[in-house]
């Protein structure tokens, strides 16, 4: 087998952490190769070196047998490497063709480009109208823009960074068909993910990274998902325990909630209806950008609505602000940790005060009880295993996973009656994620009503009692998790957003 790309003993260190240590990897043309690992395992650093964004400290790469050391992404693209990033870089106010042109070294005239976009999208089953504005596209469609931008460069190696985190199950199926078609034509694909079933379905080989080192290579189809997970995490995982419980009275009721989004190109909520009982966990799924942020804002009180639209313990609170809702027993943990859930330059003590002031009684007649705030912060650090030199450091000094533990812990430790969390385990390693899920279940067992908004379906199926999905700002009716199939979940999330036709043509 002739190799397209060979990586030998590649090493890259950042101050305080070795991101990659003597990593070896080889990819052949037409191979779909999985790069598997937890957050912080070094996957991103490795592909950034292949793509020329970062230069290795040691080791070398060969491309079609010749030495390969790209100094910038332009050189990598010229060699035939293309990359689809996890976070899209599209200008909302420009149309699809303009966005594609902006990412090209030498864009052809717009008319030719539109025609080429149309042709590529037809050939690969990725329907896309070149004249639509990027701001109006769904997450799946935005990803298609990025993929088509790559395909127009006719790449030999396509790197995909966590491509399915923004897709419905149906859309994932269609993406896989496209990727298989590309592989059949000889394009190598480096597929980064931590979703094991996907990798088993799609990839020919897998390289597993842990703490910057290659711990195993295998053929994913021949290994069970459980074994893959344990290779990735390096320890045996215990699924969260959930006590059987009888749901109590309704703690949070949302009736006909319709509000406009506070941000341009945001998703307005339309007629959202649900109720959560004490002791119950409602899981809300949905592809990113379908109203999750708006729903959290409307529940936390940052986005006011008509009084009767949100009812906490029987009291209409649609117009109440965050303080009044906290007094009523509702706590919320937004998705964006730095800047929304926490102030980056403030200390952990100050950040503990930020949302804990009311329920922990940290302010008396306007005066701040700093001793109490520090004790509360220390309690969170101890209770949720937050790795930090102390509570006096700035929030931005914490790693993403540690800050997430702090933010979720801060809300759960306030003895809440209603908990709303968006993406509770986003960017957190598997062991910490399990701890956070267990803590949420424990609060539910203690009688709290919980709403978990997440894009991680496995997570929702693991902890939720009932399941609903957001699609274009509308919420599907909630259904018991038990007996729910992946197919049904996908349809609740909006199916394939009009992509089915793509692969049915001649």
């Amino acid at each position: 087998m002739t190799e397209l790309l060979r990586i030998e003993a590649l090493t890259k260190a950042y101050p305080g952490v070795v991101a990659n240590s003597a990593v070896d990897l080889a990819i052949a043309p037409g191979e779909v190769h999985a790069l598997l690992g937890e957050n912080g395992a070094g996957k991103s650093t490795l592909v950034k070196m292949i793509y020329g964004l970062v230069q290795p400290d040691a080791g070398h790469m060969t491309w079609k047998g010749a030495p390969y050391a790209p100094r910038k992404p332009g050189q990598a693209r010229a060699a035939g490497v293309a990359m689809v990033f996890q976070h899209f870089s599209l200008f909302d106010a420009l149309d699809v063709a303009e966005n594609v042109a902006l990412g090209m070294e030498t864009p052809p005239p717009m008319r030719d480009l539109s025609a080429r976009i149309a042709r590529v999208s037809r050939d690969y089953g990725l329907p896309l109208d070149p004249d639509r504005r990027a701001g109006d596209l769904s997450a799946g469609e935005r990803q298609r823009v990025e993929i088509i931008r790559c395909l127009l460069q006719d790449p030999r190696l396509l790197i995909m960074d966590e491509p399915t985190s923004v897709l419905t199950p149906q859309e994932v199926g269609i993406l896989f068909q496209t990727l298989r078609q590309l592989a059949a034509e000889g394009t190598a694909i480096l597929y980064i993910s931590h979703k094991l079933e996907e990798i088993r379905a799609l990839c020919d080989r897998a390289t597993i990274l842990r703490r910057g080192r290659v711990v195993a290579t295998c053929t994913p189809r021949e290994v069970s998902a459980r074994d893959l997970a344990e290779l990735m995490v390096g320890q045996t995982l215990t699924p969260p325990r959930r006590a059987a419980r009888a749901p109590g009275e309704v703690a949070l009721a949302v009736r006909g909630l319709s509000v406009a989004s506070p941000v341009p190109f945001g998703t307005a909520l339309r007629e959202v209806d649900f109720a959560v009982r004490r002791g119950e966990v409602l899981g809300i799924a949905g592809v990113a950008g379908n109203g999750q942020d708006e729903l959290l804002l409307a529940l936390s009180g940052e986005l006011p609505s008509a009084p009767g639209m949100v009812t906490i313990a029987g009291v209409p609170m649609g117009q109440a602000g965050p303080d009044a809702r906290r007094r009523a027993g509702l706590v919320a943990a937004p998705e964006e940790r730095l800047g929304h859930a926490a102030a980056p330059d403030m200390t952990l003590t100050e950040n503990a005060l930020l949302s804990g002031a009311i329920r922990k009684g940290l302010v008396r007649r306007g005066l701040i009880d700093w001793t109490g705030a520090r004790a509360f912060a220390e309690g969170i650090v101890a209770g949720f295993d937050v790795r930090t030199p102390g509570v006096g450091v700035a929030a931005r000094a914490l790693s993403g996973g540690n800050l997430q533990k702090f933010v979720v812990g801060r809300e759960l430790l306030q003895d809440p009656a209603v908990i709303v969390v968006n993406q509770p385990t986003w960017g957190v390693d598997a062991a910490a994620a399990a701890a956070i899920r267990q803590a949420i279940l424990d609060r539910a067992a203690a009688g709290a009503a919980v709403v978990v908004i997440s894009q991680d379906l496995d997570e929702l199926l693991e902890i939720a009692d009932r399941f609903a999905a957001l699609n274009g700002g509308r919420l599907s009716p909630a259904r018991p998790v038990e007996g729910l199939t992946v197919q049904e979940i996908g349809l609740m999330m909006g199916g394939a957003h009009g992509m089915e036709v793509a692969h049915h043509g001649p």
Binding site: P15, Q55, R71, S300, G301, E302, G321, P322, D323, R326, A332, P334, E336, G339, H340, A341, A342, A343, P344, D345, M346, E350, L353, L354, S355, A357, I358, V363, G366, L367, I368, W370, V393, A394, R396, A397
Partner: protein, 361 residues
């Protein structure tokens, strides 16, 4: 090659050291400039920083001037700093200063010549109210219609200046002044005067108010939930909303506080050092206070030091102009250097400079 790396946590040591370093660098760079102008740099620096306070010939006059000039600067800057910390940009303190002076003086003049102890306290209240009133125009326009408080507050300065001229020529003109513009001299009307409290120090009620404001702001920012909300809103507006801060309320509050303090500064000036409402009564304190606020890193104690330093360079600069014949522009450039070095070195508290050998790329 030099690289900047963000510090995980801001360095306290550097935050404390940079002002001193900036003054030293200003002296060096300013000395070079003075030398290039053909003046003795050592003498020039001494004239600016030393002579106003310790030269036996000038100190008797200029030492009290230090507090007279620093008082209003500090009082206004403390108010502005609260707004600046919350992301509320009141650029029009000069206008609020004038409005406070007009309102306060008007109350005082209305009682003339009654000898009541109540007159001065009433003037103080009127001065603060005048400043608040003037500041509420940009505040409410922003809250209600989303206008920029930067533009509105700035433009209202020019309105205030014209109102001042109209008052000096019209309603508040001294009826016994022989038709000259300008009001009665309040400093010669004991019930309304803001006198020097201890002879030879320059200390008047405005300076006392400035010190009270420094202590009050320090307490507010450190111990009170409102101070916490102000800091939070400036650093992370979305986190502030999550924490339950109402942005509109904060805008009105911050504009109100800074307007009140600027108005007070105007009242104390018109009843004391200036003595009367006149066409050119305002001396630019409201604008200079913006510089003082940033020079003091928006920190009350820093503003106290910065206000004194700024006043010193003004007094020393004037002294250097007529003693050494330095052009006024050179003094302004010198003050500019001070600001430049302070802000440039501020980088060091949040960033670390790394020297890397060879090519990094």
């Amino acid at each position: 090659m030099i690289r900047l790396e963000r510090r995980p946590t801001p360095s306290r040591a550097w935050a404390a050291a940079t002002p001193v370093l900036a003054v030293v660098l200003t002296m060096l760079a300013g000395g070079l400039m003075f030398a290039a102008l053909g003046k003795d740099p050592v003498a020039a620096i001494r004239t600016i920083f030393w002579d106003p306070l310790f030269n036996p010939q000038f100190a008797a006059y200029s030492r009290p001037q230090l507090l007279v000039k620093a008082g209003p600067l500090i009082l206004i800057a403390v108010g502005l700093s609260l707004g600046f910390r919350a992301g509320v940009w009141n650029i029009g303190a000069e206008g609020q200063y004038i409005a406070g002076a007009i309102c306060g003086a008007a109350v005082g003049l209305a009682f003339y010549p009654a000898d009541l102890w109540l007159v001065f306290p009433l003037m103080v209240i009127a001065g603060a109210a005048g400043g608040i009133l003037w500041a509420m125009i940009p505040a409410l326009l922003r809250v209600r219609f989303g206008t920029s408080e930067i533009l509105v507050s700035l433009l209202l300065v020019y309105v205030a200046q014209n109102m001042l001229a109209a008052m000096a020529l019209g309603a508040l003109r001294n009826p016994e002044g022989g038709g000259f513009p300008g009001s009665r001299n309040l400093s010669q009307y004991p019930a309304a005067a803001n006198p020097e409290l201890i002879a030879g120090t320059g200390l008047h009620w405005g300076v006392v108010a400035a010190l009270v404001a420094v202590v009050g702001a320090q307490w507010l920012l450190g111990r009170h939930i409102l101070g916490f909300q102000i800091r939070l809103a400036g650093q992370a507006p979305r986190a502030a909303r999550f924490a339950g801060v109402r942005p509109d309320r904060l805008v009105v509050l911050c504009m109100g506080i800074s307007g009140a303090l600027a108005g007070l500064a105007g009242l104390f000036e018109v009843a004391g050092p200036a003595g009367q409402i006149s066409i050119d009564f305002n001396a630019g304190y409201g604008f200079t206070a913006i510089i003082v606020a940033f020079l003091g890193r928006l920190n009350p104690l820093g503003i106290l030091a910065a206000g004194l330093l700024m006043a010193l360079t003004y007094i020393g600069g004037e002294l250097a102009q007529f003693m050494l014949g330095l052009p006024a522009a050179a003094i302004q450039a010198f003050q500019g250097m001070l600001l430049f070095f302070l802000l440039a070195l501020d980088l060091l508290s949040n960033w670390r400079v790394r020297l890397t050998v060879g090519r990094a790329a």
